[in-house]
């Protein structure tokens, strides 16, 4: 995101740009308003919530964290957070290693060997299959082999993100000259060593993209843990909100404290790695 100055804007004049500037700042309110409301309601007492607009949106009489403490207890916050971190962390690590390996194996050979081209197309075709289509058989299947739990969810994520990630990795391979493979081969390194020592480190920019895309989809996913882990007592952060809603849906102050807690980790992550996240999303879509 360099400061490329492109002559843009309908009229192109200074005034026009100033008007655009003002409009864009005002437009931010559409983003800020729901978040502002969440914070405000999360800090209020139920008795402060009157039926008019001011009752919901005015500042609370005191900024007390008691709602948060209670919400953490009711939704078993730390446990759900731990599960979300575990699922996301494990999925990202496995995806980055396994999918970059698959991308390398396929990408290096598919130009010359028809079978590898066929494997590539077979994997990529998985992108057409929505999770909703596979959901019911997968619920049965994971239950049958005894992985209707966190482990099973990780396996499903690894398989589900494979088509996209393998496509990204094998596409990126063209930036890594085959001369590197050959040199490593001459030095006596095997395929695995070549991949691990030479290719994997060279794929670094693509690792960032894959990690961001995989992490965001995993972190925010509701459907997979909802149907796969329903038999266990385990919750992810979004699932905890779903269960909370069905049990205590009427206490809005508690609910919004809980929502805010659920949104905070990714917001903090975004503030720290904003550039990587935006680049990751753009690369993933455009490539």
């Amino acid at each position: 995101m360099s400061k490329a100055t492109i002559n843009e804007g309908a009229v192109g004049g200074r005034t026009a740009n100033r008007i655009i500037n003002i409009l864009l700042v005002i437009g931010c309110l559409t983003v800020a308003f729901p978040l502002y409301m969440t914070v405000i309601i999360a800090f209020k007492k139920p008795s402060e919530m009157t039926n008019d607009v001011a009752g919901a949106l005015g500042f609370p009489s005191s900024w007390s964290f008691s709602n948060f403490a209670e919400a953490m207890e009711v939704t078993d916050f730390w446990h759900s957070l731990g599960n979300s971190l575990l699922l996301t962390g494990a999925t990202v690590i496995i995806c980055v290693i396994l999918h970059s390996l698959a991308g390398y194996l396929i990408g290096r050979k598919m130009a010359r060997i028809k079978a590898f081209k066929a494997f590539y197309l077979y994997l990529i075709s998985g992108m057409f299959v929505p999770f909703a289509v596979l959901m019911m058989p997968l619920v049965k299947q994971t239950a049958e082999i005894g992985i209707a739990n966190r482990f099973g969810v990780i396996v499903l994520y690894v398989v589900f993100f494979m088509p996209m990630n393998v496509m990204l990795y094998s596409g990126y391979l063209s930036n890594i000259p085959t001369a590197l493979d050959e040199a490593s081969h001459v030095d006596g390194a095997g395929v695995w060593q070549t991949f691990w020592k030479i290719i994997f480190p060279n794929m670094k920019p693509m690792h960032a993209t894959v990690a961001v895309l995989t992490a965001m989809s995993t972190w925010n996913d509701v459907m997979t843990p909802l149907v796969i882990m329903s038999g266990t007592d385990e919750n992810t952060l979004p699932l905890a909100q779903l269960n909370f809603q069905t049990q205590f849906g009427t206490n809005y102050n508690l609910a919004f404290a809980s929502y805010l807690l659920a949104l905070l980790p990714i917001l903090i992550f975004y503030v720290i790695c904003q550039k990587q996240i935006i680049n990751g999303v753009v690369n993933g879509a455009v490539k």
């Binding site: 002559n7 729901p34 058989p137 049965k140």
Partner: protein
């Protein structure tokens, strides 16, 4: 496999490493797809015994009014979403790409909705639709707003579009911005000499040059919208009177707990074919358009 090709040792190692990965993919992607088709041929309720019923489920999917309704809703939602999101995000991207102050900060802020989870965002908006908008409607004397639009069979779907768009615009805007940055400045300068400014400049210069990004955004947005689930779960649970039941939600709801495992499996398989058809259609049509320009 490929008889003409003699496999070198190196290639055999490649194959040996790849095959376990392919087996894993087969087991949790292709196999369940085949199993889904198989379940579609039965009257399985999700538990107990079941019998084969041939293609009956697949025929009944086309006759079932609830399935028909869910397809209508999903298509209506996906088309309105795709158009609204792309028009708004293109305008937003043009603004965010012009000579303005605080450009990076503004871009950062407008991207925030995309990183938040759809379910929690849905719950937050649910409160806005249920309490804030009616309160504003009452205060301003707009009777249309005084009841929650989530309770209206005619308007509840609009609420879901608003929430979906709030998040979708963030994503598409950032892709359009990266598209606009690929347009070199001298093209605009040349255009300026030819006297193309304002709308003409946008239509004749910018639009053709960012066509690939429009394709990406249309395909992405449509695909995401076709699978809408989280927002429905949070806002309406398919109601009122099934007016906002998306295909994904119907499969989940009736297949998992409604005793229609077999029937919804058939529905899911047909949904898969629909998704494939749309994807192929979009890429061919839009791909052609790109080549012409």
């Amino acid at each position: 496999m490929n008889k003409k090709h003699t496999w070198s040792k190196n290639e055999k190692v490649f194959l040996g490493l790849l095959i376990p990965i392919l087996i894993l993919f087969f087991c949790f992607n292709t196999l369940p797809l085949i199993k889904g088709f198989y379940y579609g041929l039965t009257n399985f309720r999700g538990y107990g015994n079941y019998d084969f019923v041939g293609l009956r489920n697949f025929i009944e999917v086309f006759q079932d009014s609830r399935v028909g309704k869910s397809y209508l809703f999903t298509f209506k939602y996906a088309i309105v979403m795709t158009i609204a999101v792309n028009v708004i995000s293109l305008i937003l991207a043009l603004g965010l790409n012009s000579k303005i102050r605080g450009k990076n900060a503004l871009r950062g802020i407008y991207f925030v909705p995309n990183i938040l989870g759809g379910l929690v965002v849905g719950y937050i908006f649910s409160f806005i639709f249920t309490y804030i908008l009616p309160a504003i409607g009452e205060a301003a004397g707009i009777s249309f707003l005084s009841n929650s639009i989530l309770g209206s069979t005619t308007w509840a779907w609009v609420a879901i579009v608003i929430v979906g768009a709030w998040q979708g615009i963030a994503m598409n805007t950032i892709i359009y911005i990266s598209g606009l940055q690929t347009v070199p400045e001298d093209v605009y300068e040349a255009g300026m000499l030819d006297g193309s400014t304002g709308w003409r400049k946008f239509k004749d210069i910018t639009l053709p040059l960012i066509m690939p990004f429009i394709t990406i955004n249309l395909v992405l947005c449509m695909k995401n919208a076709m699978m809408v689930f989280d927002q429905i779960m949070a806002l309406t649970k398919g109601g009122p009177s099934q007016s906002t039941e998306s295909i994904s939600y119907l499969i989940y709801n009736n297949g998992m707990s409604g005793g229609q495992f077999g029937f919804q499996s058939a529905n899911a398989f047909i949904f898969f074919i629909v998704i494939v058809a749309i994807s192929i259609f979009q890429t061919t049509i839009l791909g052609k358009k790109e080549e012409q320009l």
